[in-house]
Point group: C2
C-alpha cells in the first residue's frame, strides 16, 4: 500500500495533530526539507471552493528518503474527481491535490545512492499529493527520467500516455496493419493513441465531436481533423458524418477495426461499436458525455463483440511498478524522438486558480493545464 503511505506522508506537514511528527520532533536532528507550499483540500467539494494554498514546514529527510523539488504537475480530470469525492480510489481529506508530476532531486538520505541532487524524477507508480513544491518520500517511490525531454512531458507521461500505450498493448494482440477506432480522439489519451498506433503501423479511425455548438475557443472541425491527421490519424469523422446507414462504407481500403476505445459513452460509443469488425473488442476508459454505453443483443450474440474497461490505477495496483517504468521510458523516448506530442499549457504556480478554472472547462476547451512550480 505504498500509495496510502505516500498519502499519509504528504499529509504530515499539515497543521493537524500527527503523533508521528511529534515523535519525530524529538528525534536526532537530520537533514530537513525546505518549507513547502501545497494546494490542499480539507473537505470534498467543488475544487474552486475547497482548495487552498498553504505553507508547510520542512520535515526530516530520513536515510532511505529523497527530497524532491517539484518542477511541474498537471491538473487531470481524475484529480478533480478526487477532490470532488466522486473518484472510487482517493485520499481522505485533508489531502494535497495532484497524482503525477516531475521534480528535481534536492537532497537524499544517507543510505540513498541511486539518486543525486539535480536528477529528474517522477513518482512511479504515481502518488497522491504532487501539487506541492517539495516532497519527501522513500527512494522506491521515485523513478529517474531523462532530462532531455521538456518538463511538462515528464510531468504528464503516466496518467494519459501510459493509458494509451497499455490499451494498445494489454487488451488484445494488435499486429501491424490492424485497425483501431476511437472516440474522444482529441483528448490527451486520444492523441497518444493516434501517435503510438502510427509508430506501430496500426491504422486508426477517429471520431470527434460535431462542430454544432462548439465550445468557445474550440478549433473548427477542419482544423481539428488536420491536426489529428498530422499526428498520424488515418481517418477522422465527426459524429454527424457517421449518421449513415453503413459506417463501414466510409473505410475505403482500411480493414475493419478489431479494437475500439471509448471515453465518451452514449452515441459516440455506439459509433465505435458500429465500426468494429465481427469479434471485435471495445475498451471503455472514460465517460465524458456522462451517458452510459448501450449495446444491442445482436452485437453480443451475432457480431460477437466483447466489451471491457481499462483503469490505469487498477492496473498499476497489480504489482506492475517495474513494468510501468519500462513503458514510461519507452514513451519518453518517443517524446524525445518527436514521435509523441500533445497540447499543454504551463501555468505558473501562483496562477493555480486560473489553471484550475481552465481545467474545469470554465474557459471553454483548453489545452491540458500543467502547473509549473
Amino acid at each position: 500500500m505504498r500509495i496510502m503511505t505516500s498519502y499519509l506522508r504528504v499529509q504530515k506537514p499539515l497543521p493537524f495533530i500527527n503523533f508521528k511528527s511529534i515523535t519525530r520532533a524529538f528525534s536526532v536532528a537530520a537533514t530537513k526539507s525546505p518549507p513547502s507550499k501545497a494546494i490542499i483540500y480539507s473537505t470534498h467539494g467543488e475544487p474552486n471552493a475547497v482548495t487552498k494554498l498553504v505553507s508547510v514546514p520542512g520535515i526530516e529527510v530520513k536515510e532511505n528518503e529523497v527530497c524532491v523539488k517539484m518542477l511541474a504537475a498537471p491538473i487531470n480530470p481524475s484529480d478533480i474527481n478526487r477532490i470532488q469525492g466522486v473518484y472510487p480510489v482517493r485520499p481522505e481529506p485533508p489531502a494535497v491535490g495532484g497524482y503525477e508530476g516531475v521534480g528535481e532531486v534536492y537532497s537524499v538520505g544517507s543510505a540513498v545512492h541511486s539518486f543525486s541532487p539535480g536528477d529528474w524524477v517522477i513518482p512511479s507508480p504515481p502518488s497522491f499529493g504532487t501539487w506541492q513544491t517539495y516532497i519527501v518520500e522513500d527512494h522506491n517511490v521515485w523513478h529517474k527520467v531523462d532530462k532531455g525531454v521538456p518538463m511538462e512531458y515528464a510531468a504528464t507521461i503516466t496518467v494519459n500516455p501510459l493509458t494509451a500505450l497499455l490499451m494498445l498493448e494489454d487488451c488484445i494482440t494488435l499486429n501491424s496493419g490492424d485497425t483501431i477506432v476511437q472516440n474522444g480522439a482529441t483528448s490527451m489519451v486520444g492523441q497518444c493513441v493516434i501517435q503510438i498506433a502510427k509508430s506501430r503501423g496500426i491504422r486508426n479511425i477517429n471520431i470527434i465531436r460535431d462542430s454544432a455548438n462548439p465550445s468557445p475557443g474550440r478549433a473548427g472541425v477542419d482544423e481539428v481533423k488536420e491536426r489529428l491527421k498530422n499526428l498520424g490519424a488515418d481517418e477522422v469523422f465527426t459524429e454527424n458524418e457517421l449518421e449513415v446507414k453503413n459506417v463501414k462504407s466510409l473505410l475505403g481500403d482500411i480493414p475493419e477495426p478489431v479494437l475500439g476505445f471509448n471515453c465518451v459513452g452514449g452515441n459516440a460509443a455506439s459509433l465505435v461499436l458500429k465500426f468494429l469488425r465481427h469479434g471485435g473488442t471495445m475498451v471503455t476508459y472514460g465517460g465524458m458525455s456522462k451517458k452510459p454505453v448501450t449495446v444491442s443483443t445482436s452485437s453480443f450474440i451475432f457480431k460477437e463483440l466483447s466489451l471491457r474497461g481499462f483503469w490505469l490505477q487498477k492496473w498499476l495496483g497489480k504489482d506492475k511498478a517495474e513494468e510501468s517504468r519500462g513503458m514510461i521510458d519507452r514513451l519518453l523516448a518517443l517524446v524525445k524522438d518527436g514521435k509523441l506530442k500533445y497540447k499543454m499549457e504551463l501555468a505558473p504556480f501562483e496562477d493555480f486558480n486560473t489553471a484550475l478554472d481552465k481545467a474545469l472547462g470554465k474557459h471553454g476547451s483548453q489545452p491540458k493545464q500543467v502547473i509549473k512550480f
Copy 2:
C-alpha cells in the same frame, strides 16, 4: 460447410427443378427412402402464414448415407426467427423448418457400418430441416445417442442444454463454490444452467419476471420459485424484488457472482450487472425483452466488468463437432440420471399448427413444443 450441404440435401425432394435429382433419376437404382412429409416455407414471413405441410417422394440412399425416420423435433425460437428471415444464419427458402431433433435409423448405405437400423441418432452439429418424417444424409451428419432417455430429451439436447453447458464451461473457469447469476431463469437454458451448476457445486442466483401482468396460464411467482429451487436454484428473485439500493445485501452468505447470463436485456440485464462482483463477466445469449443492454461507464472502469456474447451456432462452426458430441453424451447422461429435466410438451405432427401457435406465444406461456412424428 456441412450445414449448407445438409440444407441443399433436404431441399432436393421439393418439387423445384433440380438438375442433380434429374441426373440421379437416370442412375442405377438403389435403396430409396420412404416418401416423406415435411413442413416447408417457400418465402420468409410469419410462420403461421408461410409454413405448409408437403409430401415429398423418396430419394436414393447412397453408399455413405443413412436414412433416418424422425421421431421428434422441437420448435425453438431460433427456428421461428429463421422462418421470419431475421436470423443471421439461415437457409434461403424454399426450405424445410427445424434445426435439431432425434430419429431412428431406417436404412443405411452399403458402405455404412457405424449405424444399424433401430439406432437413435441426432444430427450433430444440428442441421437445417429436421421437421420432416424421413431424412437422408451422409453418415458423418449423425451421432448415435443412448436410447435410455425419453425421445423428447434426445430431440432437444443440443440447442438449449448445450448452450447452458458451454456458457458454464467455455466463458471463464468456474470452480466449485463460485456463484453465477442469470435472468430469464425459467427459460429452457435457464433451467439447464441451474441444474448443471448444481451438479458442479456452483451457487446460482436467479432472476425471473414479475408477477404483474402474468401471461395467461403462467404459474404464480411462488410456484415458479419453488419449481426452480427444486431444480437446484440457491436464490430466485423477481425483478421487482431487486428494486433495492444494494442487491448484494440479499445474497446472505452466498459469494458475489463472478459470471452472469443474460437472455433478456433491458432492466433484467442491468440487474445481472448489479449482482456481479468486481471483475465479473456477463454473457448475453438472448434478448427476450427486445431491449438493449445498458452499462454505466463506471461498471467498465471501476468495477472492471466484461461483457460478451455466446452463440451456439457460431461455436459449433469452429470445428467443434467432436467436442460437442462428447458434451451431448454428458448431458444425456445427466438426463438419464434424473439430474437434468425441463418442461416440454409432445405435439403430434398432425397438430403442428397448434404447436406452432403455442411456440409463438399465442396461448400464453407454454412448455417447449416438441413435434412427435
